[in-house]
Amino acid sequence: MKKILAATVLGLSLGLSAQAFAEPVKVGMITTLSGGGAGLGIDVRDGFMLAVKNAGASDLEVVIEDDAQKPEIAVQLADKMIQSDKVDILTGIIWSNLAMAVVPSVTAQGKFYLSPNAGPSPLAGAQCHENYFNVAWQNDNLHEAMGAYANDAGYKKTFIMAPNYPAGTDALAGFKRFFTGELAGEVYTQLGQTDYAAEIAQIRASGADSMFFFLPGGMGIAFMKQYAQSDVGIPAMGPAFSFSQDILGAVGEAALGVKNSSQWNKDIDNEANKKFVETFQAEYGRLPSLYASQGYDTANLIISAMGKASVSDADAFRAALKAAEFASVRGDFKFGNNNHPIQDIYVREVVKEGDVITNKIVATAFEDHQDAYAAQCGM
């Protein structure tokens, strides 16, 4: 009797998983592949496609389009992917202003959206949605870690700066949530700005003992080059986005010794991460950035859910995503009530390893950190 029961259960589970695998999943990736923000989108795409390749997931089809960092293009692409490409899941958006324009309409149409980067605060709080999962972080998180670090480092008067868009306001809000010192100045720049002479003059004149800035992609490269050339002499710090692998190559030695916060680094010691860093270098001939790690985790999350449920059964697939049973390259990973990660955040330092300028972890800022907006989410 026992044997028969076991066989039945086995047969059923085999039948079920075979059925889940039999149904292909189509993913639409809208990301930034041109202009000053291209480095971020290229890394997310490459990380994602590497995970698909490593898993041999031939039943996962990916449609990739470039949003050129423009909200109106992203909205058009999302409509096209849902209506004519018939995708099941959307992902890929880098910039929070684009995410705010696209995500609510995608989830309202019953599709899943998995964010590999942007985590604007409204989508973590009041506007959270059961079909929206953030696989990276809520925007404030890394900046909160730097606010805490600035206290530990003994900084008393910090100048803070970010671009004027949702992730920029989240960034400075996050930093201020934990920083207990005084602010020497607070400046919002234009998104995509390439000349920072006016801001650098203000930093120089502010009498600050330290400077915190959030400028991802080409903005960060332009700022760091100009800052280094201007002999300001005030130590800089920032989130990983201002010192990620895609920026360090162009900025060069000017960034050495700078502290920055990240939920991932290439030296995190686990099997998944070792395989990721190794295969990424073999495939693309460069070191991965945190963006690539986020793309990689996003794809692995989808693949893990595909093994458990069919995407046409939205409730089961959603539960499978929420369980987050995949080997994240950052180690422990789970979703909070608002489908945003609860994870460790580290402090990194920019170092030179041989000829390559890269980051290494020097401290843990937070363990099992959850975002500040989770309580505002009704889920």
Partner: protein, 306 residues
Amino acid sequence: MTLALFLEQLLNGLQFGVMLFLMAAGLTLIFGVMGLINLAHGSLYMVGAFACAVVAAWTGSFWLGLVASMAAAAAAGAIIELAVIRRLYARDHLDQVLATFALILIMSEGTRWLFGSVPLYLDIPPLLQGTVPLPGGSRYQLYRLAIIGVGVAVAVGLYLLISKTRLGMRIRAGENDREMIAALGVDVATLYTLVFALGAALAGLAGAMVGAIQSVQVGMGEPVLILAFVVIVIGGIGSIRGALIGAVLVGVTDTMGRFLLPQMLTLFLPPSQAALIGGAVASMLIYLLMAVVLAVRPRGLFPAQA
């Protein structure tokens, strides 16, 4: 706010203005002499920046890159004039806008095809690295001072070219009455090609110089092109002097606005609100300036001719 900070910001505004002048001078010359609206001027700026980045990376010399940027942009300008623009002089402005907009798309995609979408980075030449002291204890980047110097030199050179040379006389004559100078036996076609190549070379020079402090990427010219149009509308279309004054006005207004507006708003608002709103309003400031100038002087500050 200290005097040193004010002075540094003034220099920043001047540097930005001078860079806009290099763009606007070519644009206004081409419009003034040939009556052509050239939207592809921003693409020539991009061509200059890419030529400089490629030659500097290849030879290791920024200076050769700078020469190459002017040569490449002038050559691109001349080819465009001979192949496309020449057919448009007699047509109305809509046809010109459509054709030059098509040129933007062609040149941007062509550059993307050749160099990819990821920005290139140019380094400031060793000779111009570092800073110099300013009165009041501040320091200023030497390279930005050099840009101001180049801009002033170009302004003086253009003034001499247009007011003292035979070519300048023909350019001025062409602005006033192109049928008449053609009837007098001046080779108008060659004159137009020359003026177009000159304007293109200035745009290429601006692109190369700015490329070294910012980044060299596809589409870098269009934001500058929009500002250059604002400059020539403020300065008066067709006038080099207007382009210079308009460019400095726009550069200083933009820089000072970004810096002073948030500070002024802190008198009424909490700092983060002031920074947010001030930053947003500052980005509209030059368009407000343009609106005011047009309301008072509808043909710009220095209209070229009646």
